[in-house]
């Protein structure tokens, strides 16, 4: 049986024990809460750190993708420039060849071979005119031979006698010579840079 105690409740030993236990439980709860809060805080900090790292990695990935797109754009521009340069080179070469062809025909004209029509179709060309004789046409072919390389060597596709007109010279052979130079294949981009189909596919000089 518990002894009778005349002290107020707050001063008794049982109250001291309860206060001690309560304090201990309170401190334990406080410590537990603090530990839980610290754990949550550290988890949040770790989560924020990971999220920051992910955001940084994503930003770096975006930058790399942008740089890659830029590089592809530059590469495409370089390819287009290269194709354009190749086309310019091809046109220059074609111009040089035509110039040489013009010189050769000019040497033969008007003596022996007369050029009436000069039709160009890309690397191919076609000459049509009047010649005094077949040997003159043959001489013309020999003079044209060094202007290659040829994909299709200069050849006579038509040689026929024409009726003599009044007051004209003695030329009586109508000839047609055609050939095609050998050129490197142009890139697709270069094709797109070529003249549009609305323009005539070939030029005719008369």
């Amino acid at each position: 049986m518990t002894p009778l105690n005349l002290l107020p409740l707050r001063d008794r030993a049982s109250m001291w024990r309860r206060w001690l236990v309560g304090s201990w439980l309170g401190l334990s709860a406080l410590g537990g809460g603090g530990l839980a809060a610290w754990t949550l805080h550290s988890q949040d900090a770790s989560k924020a750190h990971v999220q920051a790292e992910m955001a940084g990695a994503q930003m770096q990935l975006d930058q790399l993708q942008q740089q890659l797109a830029q590089q592809r754009k530059v590469q495409l521009q370089a390819q287009q420039t290269q194709a354009l340069w190749q086309q310019v080179q091809a046109l220059r070469q074609r111009a040089q060849r035509l110039d040489a062809l013009h010189k050769v025909t000019a040497q033969r004209w008007p003596a022996g071979v007369q050029v009436q029509e000069w039709r160009l179709d890309g690397a191919g060309w076609r000459l049509q005119g009047l010649a005094d004789s077949g040997s003159a046409v043959q001489q013309l072919l020999q003079d044209l031979q060094p202007l290659g390389p040829w994909q299709q060597a200069p050849a006579v596709v038509e040689l026929a006698a024409t009726p003599a007109l009044s007051g004209s010279s003695a030329r009586g052979l109508r000839y047609v010579v055609q050939a095609r130079w050998q050129e490197a294949e142009l890139a697709p981009q270069a094709r797109s840079l070529a003249p549009s189909p609305a323009q005539p596919p070939h030029s005719v000089i008369k």
């Binding site: 049986m1 518990t2 002894p3 009778l4 105690n5 005349l6 002290l7 030993a13 049982s14």
Partner: protein, 205 residues
Amino acid sequence: MQCFVRGWRRTPVWLGLSIHDQRMTLVEWHAVAATQAPLSRWAQEEWVPSTQPAPGLWDEPAKSGATLGRLWQRAGMQCRRLAMGLPANRVVLQTLQVQADCPANELRAQVNWRASQALGLNWDEVAFDYRMESPDGPQTVQWLACPLALVQAAQLMSRAAGLRLQFLGVEPAHMGLREEKQGGAPDLLPQLQVACEMARQGSQS
């Protein structure tokens, strides 16, 4: 945590105090097994009254507290948990019959009223405690009361000595403290027994 558990399971130590006439006996009491000595330290102090008739403990609690503090320091005691008892002639111990379904606050009010009536004091001038004598039998309540001034004097004395008074009971009357020898001074052994008994009751409170 282990330190707390060790301290919690440690054997409780109490100080038991017995004061009679101008002699104060203080013991340090351990609630241990019967094979071990429960009494580790004890000391006794006797003082000469400055006036005649000699004032009691309850008349000069601060002075008695200073004496108690010196006694505690001289004995080299560590414990500050104090248990002491009031003389049986300064308290009222009675019983009360209550109904089985009496609420706790009603029971407390009844004891408070009866104590104030028995002591001839106002209801807020008494200190009391009560307990059920037999929980399984009829609802008989045993209650103990004394003037609140006595409790306050005991607390003041304890604070003056630097101790914590945690139990204030009633000294056992059967130990013959009132039987003085021919020389006038009480015997040493009964005072030691009373001090140990108060410490034991304190450990059970």
